[in-house]
């Protein structure tokens, strides 16, 4: 039933990291029919991660980094369409665009990404209050940062802290308000999260945990951020990063099942024939456990893109790539392999005091995840070890001189 025919066509909604990858991989897998990539805007698709890193530095690159060069679309015969999808009819296999035109498809891929959660407090719509998701956001923020002297960051997640560290490196006074007891608490082990909190504080960031925002007021020429502790923090720029929601509206309206993401099976297909979902917008079963997860990372978007191309080509394999992620916060480079769980047993490798170490997270005697701080060699080995679900006894792991790199060399019998 899934055999791809020469008459097949593919429509991809969303020309982000995932959408571009599935288009690219379809061609390298030999798909010969028409591919239309709906971009929703008239600019060349670009990479988001630099927007909260390089792009905010003093000598930031003047232009966004594209996902593919401009010639890619002509040489690969992929139509990059500036239109946005407004509705999908899965019976007729037709996408209607906001300009009223329509596209027919054999295979449809939702790669609609995620949207920033709004800040639910009065004053959130004031002009000096910023969010960061698009190039447009980054350009506004970069301009505002050039003259800012005091900033308040709401939310100590990855984007909030990347921005905070970039602003601090420019000599700006930075206060971070976080409702939860720990920064990046959803994604990091408590050990890593506590280390980051201490490190950001020693770099001069005023990190306030267990403290949320209640309102943002205008005060003179600037702003004043009122917190749940009753404090008022003056600021000339506020950035919030309080999480994202998967963009599922279009899929829901088309009758697809969603629950914190568009629901797909292990081949990244939805329950509706010919429709797939990938990247930030997709909720998929985790390899091994089958538990549903939705990830927001470049690795997830590109590996989903490659896998979905193979599913469209008629292969029925289970998606089982090991997740990995990175974040750069000032001079701190974090790399994560696998997905940790609060019940994992943490073992510190190396010396946190000198800022170069890893945290190995054991689950039932198996290496489930590794968080590496300024330790790429550990991360490279960890990706292979986590992928192989290697048993790692505590006495081996905690022996003096244990190195993930050497361990990987021994147990995987390939150079790590």
């Amino acid at each position: 039933m899934n055999n791809v025919s020469a008459k097949d066509s593919v429509v991809i909604i969303g020309a982000g990291q995932a959408g571009l990858q599935v288009a690219d991989s379809l061609r390298s897998e030999g798909f010969a029919g028409p591919i239309t990539l709906l971009n929703g805007e008239a600019i060349l698709p670009y990479q988001r991660p630099p927007l909260s890193k390089d792009y905010l530095g003093i000598d930031s690159p003047a232009t966004a980094l594209p996902l593919r060069g401009p010639d890619f679309f002509t040489t690969q015969d992929i139509t990059l369409h500036p239109g946005a999808a407004a509705a999908v009819d899965t019976q007729a296999r037709r996408v209607t665009l906001t300009d009223g035109s329509a596209l027919d498809y054999t295979h449809l891929v939702f790669a609609t990404g995620a949207a920033n959660r709004q800040l639910p407090c009065p004053g959130a719509d004031l002009p000096a209050v910023h969010a960061l998701r698009t190039l447009f956001d980054a350009e506004r923020l970069q301009a505002a940062l050039a003259t800012a002297r005091k900033v308040v960051v709401i939310g100590a997640g990855f984007i909030g802290l990347e921005f905070a560290a970039a602003a601090r490196a420019r000599g700006v006074e930075v206060t971070v308000l976080e409702y939860a007891p720990r920064p990046m608490g959803r994604a990091l082990s408590a050990t890593a999260s506590d280390w980051f909190a201490a490190r950001h504080r020693s770099d001069g960031i005023d990190l306030r945990l267990n403290e949320g925002v209640t309102a943002i007021h205008t005060e003179g020429a600037g702003l004043s951020v009122e917190s749940t502790a009753g404090s008022h923090y003056p600021a000339d720029l506020v950035l919030y990063g309080v999480g994202v929601n998967a963009r599922t509206e279009l899929a829901e309206a088309a009758g697809l099942a969603t629950d914190n993401g568009i629901l797909v099976d292990s081949s990244l297909r939805t329950a509706v024939d010919g429709v797939l979902a990938i990247g930030d917008c997709a909720s998929f079963p985790q390899a091994g456990t089958g538990a549903r997860i939705r990830l927001e990372s470049v690795q997830n978007a590109t590996d989903h893109g490659r896998h979905a191309a193979r599913s469209i080509m008629g292969q029925n394999t289970d998606y089982a790539q090991t997740p990995w992620f990175w974040s750069t916060q000032g001079r701190i480079r974090l790399q994560i392999a696998g997905i940790s769980d609060p019940s994992d047993e943490p073992v510190v490798l190396g010396d946190p005091a000198n800022g170069k170490f890893s945290i190995a997270l054991l689950r039932d005697g198996v290496l489930a995840a590794v968080e590496s701080i300024n330790s790429p060699a550990d991360h490279v080995a960890a990706r292979k070890l986590v992928a192989a679900s290697v048993a790692l006894p505590m006495e081996v792991l905690s022996a003096p001189g244990f190195s993930l790199k050497n361990f990987a060399k021994t147990v995987l019998a390939v150079p790590a």
Binding site: K53, D54, P66, G69, V298, Q299, W326, N374, P376
Partner: protein, 107 residues
């Protein structure tokens, strides 16, 4: 403007003129040079911008940092003495007319 020549495994060469300060990765991705992906946006986190620098330019290159060195151990194509991460080599006047080879596999 300094130029970079990217040579593909097929022998096909592309010469690109770039502003000083531009990394080899950014030049390649912006101009659609095949075989250079740059998935992490230039953070030395992904190793998909792996290139081989021709030996005659070796002594003009910036030194390899520990981070780059460790990430070079996870390139898809084999690491050699000529291996660099394209995102960590920025163009300067000294590097003008540099020639690099693109590996056969990057992902």
């Amino acid at each position: 403007m300094p130029t970079i020549t990217f040579t593909q495994p097929t022998g096909e060469a592309t010469e690109i003129a770039v502003a000083e300060g531009t990394s080899l990765m950014r030049a390649a991705v912006t101009n659609g040079v095949e075989g250079i992906v740059g998935e992490c946006g230039g953070q030395a986190m992904c190793a998909t911008c792996h290139i081989y620098v021709r030996p005659e330019f070796a002594d003009q290159l910036p030194p390899i940092s520990d981070d780059e060195d460790e990430m070079l151990d996870c390139t898809t194509a084999e690491r050699t003495d000529a291996s660099r991460l394209g995102c960590q080599v920025k163009m300067t006047d000294q590097l003008s007319s540099i020639v690099v080879d693109v590996p056969s596999d990057q992902e």
